[in-house]
Symmetry: C2
Subunit: 273 residues, 2 copies
């Protein structure tokens, strides 16, 4: 079965998408054709959106599901006239919140993402540049500034996790790959030993690692099943021997790896949305 | 006025946080103390959360606001007994959706982020590595693979935007800084000329640029007001002269820059949440 779903906003559309994806993922028997339309901030755009929704509704023979976070009342009224099934996210929750908080909401266009707090912006950008500068063990002299240092074998997910931690939570995350030298003597490199309290390990299923590495460098020793197995086993031995907390990243998304690390370590966020 | 807010989930907590932040940002007169508790997936953890909420409720003298996306019914029942004001996100919307879609929802723990589709994972990781490898004009020979190439003066927001486009949308985004050489003759570098259809410019207020650069390299020519003004003016002249679409990034968040670029160019996402 196939249905269409729209995520519509007068801002970025991120809230409508995030909530919409979560809700739709609870209906696995249905395939959703998903369309995001952000910045619907004029009546002209709103009428164009209605026409698009109605066209899809006619094609599908079923009402598209509409998730909207439009704050402007007039634009929301226009959209509400479409032939879709409306999930009006803000109006559903803002009224009960207004009563509980005993105050009116400001209903400003795209407010959730529009206001750039300069200190938050700086925290975030600094964290991104920190992750870039301290990626892949390239530089270790700034580890004293790190909130966390990820370690593990090459291609187990360290780099994207560090970038996500930086962008989403403003954390300074470095990463250091364990290499064959470390594996020979099953010891932490000296620079990691000095920063042991900040270390967090990632491990991965050797077969998955083989597949990932083969995508990049097929038919090399680096991507071979034997090498991947040896490295993963050695990395695990090092984590266990040196009491480094670690996580199996095999079947986790970057969001899950990141949030599980925060939950496991108790490291606080530097940004709050 | 100060209130406490909790974002509680048996998964990552990202949906609860995203929606919660959007809703709370509509109440600007109130300062919210925000606490995220992900992976509440046992009764033991749920009871600990209730105790934590009740303690804060007693301290505040007001009910904390609880945004939850817990899928497990028993755990949700435990949490619902706390002394908080409950915004139960999933149950609010899943029932009407079940009726409209004429099917039951699967209510699986953390389903929205838990299922790692291997092809999506690969798209995402490849995009992140593409952004890293093609950051800051370091390499230009893979521009034929790019979905988009951002350009503009140093420190106008290109790098974090490319990484966000990669992580969030799976897009291959390169970036190329305009330097003084380009500014002397107000021409696009040859390598950009060859990929003109993929170019998108970012501009920034010169005063803001001066502040950003000064954080990094205070009292240098690079960070001087005069240099920043000259570079921004020259970059704008190049964008206008060569008909490159551009955006003023000064007061925009990374999410806004990214989603506005997609809206302006019509570039489609490679990932759908």
């Amino acid at each position: 079965m196939k249905r269409s779903a729209f995520f519509i906003s007068d801002g970025t559309g991120i809230t409508a998408e995030t909530l919409g994806h979560s809700l739709l993922s609870q209906f696995r028997s249905i395939k959703f054709e998903q369309i995001t339309i952000p910045y619907v901030d004029t009546q002209e755009k709103a009428h164009a959106v209605v026409a698009q929704i109605n066209k899809i509704a006619a094609q599908d023979g079923k009402a598209p599901i509409i998730f909207d976070t439009i704050v402007n009342q007039d634009i929301r009224t226009t959209i509400a006239n479409c032939k879709g099934f409306m999930i009006d996210i803000f109006s559903t929750f803002l009224h009960p919140l207004e009563e509980e908080l005993q105050t009116s909401s400001s209903y400003t266009v795209g407010q959730s993402h529009a206001i750039v707090d300069e200190s938050s912006y700086k925290i975030r950008i600094d964290a991104v540049h920190y992750a870039l500068d301290n990626d892949d063990g390239a530089r270790t002299r700034n580890y004293h500034e790190a909130d966390i240092i990820l370690t593990g074998v090459s291609r187990c997910g360290k780099t994207p996790t560090c970038l996500y931690l930086a962008l989403q939570f403003g954390l300074k995350a470095a990463n250091y790959p364990l290499t064959e030298d470390d594996m020979d003597d099953l010891k932490l490199p000296q620079v990691l030993n000095e920063n042991k309290s900040k270390l967090f390990g990632l491990t991965i299923d050797p077969n998955r690692l083989t597949a990932i590495r083969s995508e990049r460098k097929a038919d090399t020793k680096y991507a071979s099943a034997r090498q991947c197995e040896m490295e993963v086993r050695a990395a695990l031995a090092i984590f266990n021997k040196t009491n480094i907390p670690y996580l199996d990243a095999t079947s986790l998304s970057i969001e899950e790896i990141s949030t599980r690390i925060l939950a496991a370590t108790g490291i606080g966020r530097r940004l709050q949305g």
